[in-house]
Amino acid sequence: MSTAIVTGSARGIGRAICEKLAKDGVENIVVCDVKAEWCEETVEAVKALGANAVAMEINVAEGASIDAGVEAIIKQFGAIDICVNNAGITRDGLLMRMTEEDWDSVLDINLKGAFLMTKAVSRHMLRARKGSIVNIASVVGLMGNAGQCNYSASKGGLVALTKSAARELGARGVRVNAVAPGFIKSKMTDVLTEDVKNRMLSAIPMGKFGEVEDVANAVAFLASDAAAYVTGQVISVNGGMLMP
């Protein structure tokens, strides 16, 4: 029996991760997002792949919401083997014009959310002496991006959180890694102008944008026993856009 929870999985990369984990044989997939009804499509897609899926309403910016959700999962499935911290938002704007609220909301969801989630699941993983946590960072967390001081700071923070948590939990068999996607076709990137997209394309050696499945494949590897000796690492999935 294996159980995975994927935050922000109503659509996009989160949904692709749920589907990939289901294809790889993870038995129970907890699909969570801010509204339970948003999760229905992902739940149906996962069920169609033969796995068990449940929708769960979790606001990752609130510790109480996370704790209640994690307790419910433990009660229902007995364990959490895989946790993917994927929930994230953008509130782009130039530093000079970025409001405090834009900063706080992005940091609360993208970074604090992953911290609270990791804290809640690690309790159970420590006890089980196993578990894999995968944080979805971003290429901009490694290289920066004009107009995304808040988002890039949250993603850079996720990389550091990944490494510190990996050091703390490693001796107990709990692995913590990150995937840093580059430019991936999704709702979050659809809103960018053609001009911006073309400029980004010219910086990608592979000459194309990535698909959500490309990210899901890397997540599934880190979540699986195939990565049993991998912890504290960041796998970039960016078509060569950045080579750290």
Binding site: R123, L126, R127, E168, L169, A171, R172
Partner: protein, 85 residues
């Protein structure tokens, strides 16, 4: 079962130590070789076991004093947990 016996069982399990080693005064760090993660885990288990009797969680500032079996038993008693469970 007494409170001390119950706590002792939890400590033996968590720190992987024999019952004879876990005396009331044995210091988790110095005598029983526990590291900080062991102690965090121990506090978690104590909370799980006695949470319903002590208002849920143990405040972070209190955990620093929980260095031995005796200290944990005293702490739980001070929070109203009975000697006999």
């Amino acid at each position: 079962m007494t409170l001390e016996e119950k706590v002792k069982t939890i400590i033996c399990e968590t720190l992987n130590r024999g019952a004879e080693e876990v005396t009331p005064a044995a210091d988790f760090n110095n005598d029983l070789g526990a590291d900080s993660l062991d102690l965090a885990e121990l506090v978690m288990k104590i909370e799980d076991e006695f949470g319903s009797m002590i208002d849920g969680s143990i405040p972070e500032e209190d955990t620093a004093n929980l260095k031995s079996l005796g200290a944990i038993v005293e702490y739980l008693k001070s929070k109203g947990v009975a000697d006999e469970l």
